[in-house]
Symmetry: C2
Subunit: 353 residues, 2 copies
């Protein structure tokens, strides 16, 4: 069920979850109408003039900021790749419960807003504050929890004092679109998207992590027992990953010259190498890789392929980042199906038409 | 969409494809209404008294046998595990096109019929015959082929002269049910099910493989190019495999003592060992394994598990056969998604209720 404009592949309508078609990754910045969408509840319609952002908790000067207050503060722009923590979940075996994302829950935008640090400084954060809870206007019933709740998540202070962590109000020079959190969303660059709380209404500084349903849910529950939920590693920084953007799965190609294209990224540095195999993991060739354009963006790559033999081929891409992380053939299995970064494999056929 | 009686999980209604629920594998013989169904075209309603079987081609004495003719011949019974070549296809990554079978396209029946050899002897097979083509009454349009056709497949002579290869007319002491090929089906024991042609109407001895759409389709197209379709290995003998029948995926178990049960089989000998891991592939323990009960059946196994820790676990089973074949963690990828025998993994949760 594509969206009316055909920009996205809609996987769920309520809440709205919609993925990018992979050939559309071949752009420096995703257009707003082509950025993937992952909401947890129906998008709340907010009138900016009625809205305000409360800042309270472990601060000396609680704040109540209007939309205009934020627009008047010093602004900052960050080009950021956002990926849903559950992206590529459908490729994990055995399957995990949740939205069965293919590989299209990833996009890059230029976000503009106020550094969260500016606001926290203005509120005079107490030294006792270790985490900040971000609460969205969006809410609804969560059957698994047996109750209704707002979307909320706390994030440790270390990441929040980074000037690139924004209270964002613009996406590619336009006010935030409804489905991306108008009027204000949090942007935690380099992390999976679940922490970039949309439709922000309240920020509470705390002296401990908040816990709560979604904060416990977005954890890397391993395939072994014996740990309590709170002891399990939280999903945070993006894993090294690459995707083949063209050709697409199932394409029939003419014999002869082709260019295989794609993107790669990591939350743990930039990409230093992308290799491509066209012969079932036997040989790998290094692709031509774009220089890193920003700390949090993707890098495009391409490689020539002379498809001389007729028949089937499985194309694979494998990225290495500057910290030495390499994509695995099989991502580590976990109960919620997060952080899936196994090597992307695209079956195609070479046939004379 | 379960069938009206709830015995099978119906994956497709036209043609009918229906899988077994795994806890129902804990029986020596699957009941007829609980045997998986894989048809390629709508099941033809055949009146046995109007039906006959033609035997022609490279034979000296062509035959036209009635249902009664076959019932009067010497009979033979074979207990046989049948598995669809596409069983577990849905667990292969990247996905392959075709019916997205989970793991339930496997069952065991006691088949009764006439040895095919008896009929071929009666027809005085010529020494020039190398393959026999089996043609079903069932037919229909095949979009991929752009034409209408009957289901048909040729099988090499070697397997056909085995006395256990039957023209079967009974399944567990009852006439063949409609969906299993009434009045007569071929039974090629130890092979994947695609060769056991249902609703047989014609047998033609040939001096070469027939080829044809389904015969070319049921091949192990690898993830590399450069071979013509006819050079690609045909799907034939069952790969070593095991399945966990209980507990089921997603089950929530009480802490304490549990028994994990399952089945295992191979077309390449009997099963010598089944190992089970409850801690994400770190340690494996040997399960208690049933003695082989027949050449072509399955062997049940079970193992005790003391679930002391709360939380998540991934249960896995791994079989070894008497030829030394061991189930792989990742089955070899192929375009049609056949012969998937990767280690079965079942996520469960241990929680006090």
């Amino acid at each position: 069920m594509p969206d009316p404009d055909g920009n996205l592949n809609v996987l769920s309508e309520d809440p709205l979850c919609a993925a990018v078609f992979l050939p559309n990754l071949n752009v420096p910045i995703s257009p707003n109408e082509g950025h993937f969408i992952r909401s947890h509840f129906p998008a709340p319609q907010i009138n900016a003039s009625d809205w305000s952002l409360t800042v309270d908790g472990h601060v000396d000067s609680p704040l109540d900021l209007s939309y205009d207050d934020l627009l008047k503060m010093p602004s900052r722009e960050v080009v950021n790749l956002m990926e849903c923590a559950g992206n590529s979940r459908s490729t994990m075996q055995p399957p995990a419960e949740g939205v069965q994302w293919d590989n299209g829950a990833v996009s890059v935008s230029c976000w503009k807003g106020v550094s969260l640090k500016t606001v926290l400084d203005q509120a005079s954060l107490k030294s006792s504050a270790t985490d900040v809870l971000f609460i969205g206007v969006d809410s609804g019933n969560v059957p698994q929890a047996g109750t209704s709740m707002a979307y909320e998540m706390s994030v440790p202070m270390e990441k929040l004092l980074d000037e690139d962590t924004l209270l964002a109000y613009e996406m590619n020079d336009a006010p935030l679109p409804l489905d991306h959190g108008f009027p204000i969303r949090l942007l935690i660059p380099g992390w999976y998207g679940m922490a970039s709380v949309k439709w922000l209404t309240k920020i509470t500084a705390m002296d401990h992590p908040n816990g709560g349903y979604h904060e416990l849910d977005y954890r890397f529950y391993p395939a072994t027992d014996g740990k309590s939920d709170a002891e399990i590693e939280r999903v945070s920084s993006l894993k090294v990953k690459s995707l083949i953007s063209t050709p697409s799965k199932g394409n029939i190609l003419q014999p002869g010259h082709h260019t295989i294209t794609g993107v790669a990224w990591s939350g743990d540095g930039h990409i230093t190498k992308v290799e491509v195999s066209t012969d079932d993991d036997r040989t790998w060739r290094e692709a031509k890789l774009e220089e890193p354009s920003g700390t949090y963006s993707w890098q495009h790559w391409e490689i020539d392929w002379d498809a001389v033999n007729l028949g089937h081929s499985l194309l694979r891409s494998r990225a290495t980042d500057s910290a030495g992380n390499v994509q695995p053939m099989l991502a580590t299995w976990n109960f919620r199906g997060y952080q899936v970064n196994s090597i992307h494999s695209v079956p195609i056929t070479v046939r004379k038409s």
